[in-house]
Amino acid sequence: MQTETRTTIDRTAGASGAAIAVLRFSGDISSTSKDSVLGAWQNVSGSGPVLLDFSKVDYINSSGIALIIQMLMEADKSGQKVAAFGLTPHFQKVFTMVGIGKYAGLHKDQEAAVASM
């Protein structure tokens, strides 16, 4: 019933030319996404700024939001800057409501997110 979460890891260059990791999620982000989401985070943990791409995510529930908060916990510990992009207007509102915007900039697209880094 739930669509599997797929996460791929890309790299892009920031304004200064420094590498930025991009975690690209697709499918649903829910309680069954733990391995995909947090497993991908382990591959970028401690290695500089990270972008979260939600442009191919159809459904995020509170369990999925908890996984995103766990990534932000890890980022906070390692001093990594995080920004997100590609959220629908609804999920941008939900992320703002729960306070995620305080720890991860929420941007319309990758270009705006990279520029914020």
């Binding site: 019933m1 739930q2 829910s30 459904y59 509170s62 996984l67 908060i69 766990q70 916990m73 306070g99």
Partner: protein, 149 residues
């Protein structure tokens, strides 16, 4: 727009995570027939999903022998959704989630569901029955008729 006032739609879900999406889809379809704007339908979908997840996980404890009832009742100006489970209900509202405490490991990163429900619908109430065998959450979203002729 289809005439929906006075109609009721019921869905029965197995207590298995993922089936909340069936209720989401049904609620969205009814709300669309009633003429709700897309933004409010998205709010409703998230609120219904979270109510069903709570019923499946906490009310029915993921017991697949139990089902979750979802009853949608349309009237002229609002849609009421009741999500019924076999649990004892909640005795008190959890505190409002605190993102700083969550990010710093002082609060469970989970526990956003009830907060989201309350934030996204016009009314939300959690009701326990007197013998503790059934409880339900009742959600209401209202059609905003401001600006209409």
């Amino acid at each position: 727009m289809v005439a929906t006032a006075g109609t009721s739609v019921e869905v029965r879900l197995p207590s298995r995570l993922g089936f909340e999406k069936v209720a989401m889809g049904t609620a969205a379809s009814v709300a669309q027939l009633m003429g709700f704007p897309a933004e409010r339908i998205e709010d409703l979908k998230t609120a219904v999903a979270e109510a069903c997840i709570n019923a499946i996980e906490h009310g029915n404890q993921l017991n697949e022998k139990l089902s979750v009832g979802v009853i949608l009742s349309a009237s002229d100006d609002q849609l009421e959704v009741k999500v019924v489970d076999n649990g004892a209900g909640i005795s008190k509202q959890p505190p409002k989630p605190d993102i700083d405490r969550k990010v710093h490991g002082q609060e469970d990163p989970r526990g956003m569901g009830m907060f989201l429900i309350q934030a996204l619908v016009d009314e939300a109430e959690w009701v326990r029955d007197s013998i503790g065998k059934h409880s339900y959450v009742r959600l209401v979203i209202r059609l905003d008729k401001e600006g209409e002729d």
